[in-house]
């Protein structure tokens, strides 16, 4: 298959882990994402030792939960972010965060390919937009996600294409619900 952008490449790797327990695919994901996950945890307040432990947990979770990943609703980076965030709350704040109920029509229903493509392209656009954001705004957003800023402080318009991603996710959810009835 032709790889359009890196987002779709990561999706293919996660799917290879899910369907074939592909260790080469996992090694490639690890090389790319593990150093980012560790950096994210350190910036969120973990020391290097805890960040390494936590990162290994996160990466092992990716292997175990690869079949739960829904590429019509999240990029691989987004999925990894959510796993890392939850592990961070476990370790740094010491509680199991309540998560929204899983959708009962969940991951066994193969997502629509058009939805997957559209969502991954929107994610690519968001990543590109993030690169062109003025330094000051980007740092504000990053600090909010590291957890050292109240969110009112970044209510400022950033011009990031979040609305289009939201519409894509909404469409995918609607389609999933529709498929069930």
């Amino acid at each position: 298959t032709i790889v359009q952008n890196s987002e779709e490449h990561w999706v293919a790797l996660v799917q290879a882990i899910a369907t074939a327990h592909d260790q080469t695919a996992f090694a490639e994901l690890f090389r790319h994402f593990a150093p980012k996950v560790k950096a994210f945890l350190i910036k969120s307040g973990a020391d290097a030792g805890l960040a390494e432990e936590c990162m290994q947990d996160v990466m092992a979770t990716l292997w175990r939960k690869a079949h739960m990943y829904d590429p019509s609703r999240a990029s691989v980076a987004t999925w990894i972010f959510t796993v890392a965030r939850n592990r961070k709350i476990d370790l740094l704040r010491k509680y199991a965060r309540p998560e929204p109920e899983d959708l009962p029509w969940g991951p066994e229903q193969a997502p629509d390919q058009a939805d997957v493509l559209a969502l991954q392209q929107e994610s690519h656009r968001l990543a590109e937009a993030m690169k062109t954001l003025p330094e000051k705004q980007r740092i504000l957003i990053e600090r909010a996600y590291f957890g050292d800023l109240t969110h009112s402080e970044i209510a400022a318009e950033t011009g990031l294409p979040l609305g289009t991603i939201k519409s894509r996710i909404r469409l995918a959810l609607d389609r999933l619900r529709h498929n069930m009835t």
Binding site: I42, E99, P100, E101, P104, L126, E142, S167
Partner: protein, 217 residues
């Protein structure tokens, strides 16, 4: 009437996506998102922003044996067999995150009477915020009160109205310092709400003794 009050503000959703909110608010948001596809889509878009942040965060040096150690973790606890999909919508009224917190559905709640037929059950009380279930009999009005911080109310059964709007199952009302309201349950069905507050409420009604049990939660 606008529907803006019926969804969670961007501020709170983004805080939840970042994992930066007090536990009490996490529970209300997770429960609300379970009931609203609109909020789920908005939450997942804020998580997409978290993914973009992860992409730009830079890199940290790993331990030399990092990959091997991770593979060892995986072999120690291999991937579970694919779990069957959860049963679609059970008969209860509590979505999964609330059911997990209570240890069951409505019939498992240990209510405490607080007067006028109103009952409550404190689920979690932290130093920064607390969360409780509130049971208001059909047609009953709560004492008028204002707020010292943020109060977030999610309706699970029945409906209530206040000076702002009417709220039914799945709807959220966020009341801040500027809100001074008298929530009144609709006639016909008892109203059950999940409420997080990040500071004790200020009651200004004429029944301070009845109001007392609501304070200091």
């Amino acid at each position: 009437m606008q529907d803006v009050n019926h969804h969670i503000s961007d501020d709170l959703l983004m805080g939840y996506a970042a994992g930066a909110l007090p536990q009490a608010f996490d529970l209300v948001i997770a429960t609300h998102v379970s009931l609203s596809d609109e909020s789920r889509a908005r939450l997942e878009s804020f998580e997409a922003l978290g993914g973009a942040v992860l992409n730009h965060v830079g890199t940290a040096d790993l331990e030399e044996d990092s990959f091997e150690a991770t593979m060892a973790r995986i072999s120690a606890a291999p991937a579970p067999e694919r779990a069957p999909s959860p049963e679609p919508a059970e008969t209860g009224i509590f979505p999964a995150p609330l059911r997990d917190m209570v240890g069951g559905d409505l019939d498992a709640v240990k209510w405490r009477a607080v007067g006028m037929g109103v009952k409550q059950c404190v689920l979690h009380s932290g130093k920064d915020a607390s969360v409780r279930l509130l049971y208001i009999p059909a047609g009953q009005a709560m004492p008028m009160h204002s707020h010292r911080g943020t109060e977030m109310t999610l309706v699970l059964q029945g409906a209530y109205s206040d000076e702002e709007d009417r709220f039914a199952r799945g709807d959220v009302e966020i009341a801040g310092e500027e809100t001074n309201h008298t929530p009144t349950a609709d006639p016909g069905e008892d109203c059950i709400c999940l409420i997080a507050t990040d500071a004790p409420l200020k009651f200004n009604g004429l029944l301070p003794r009845i109001a007392q049990p609501f304070v200091g939660i």
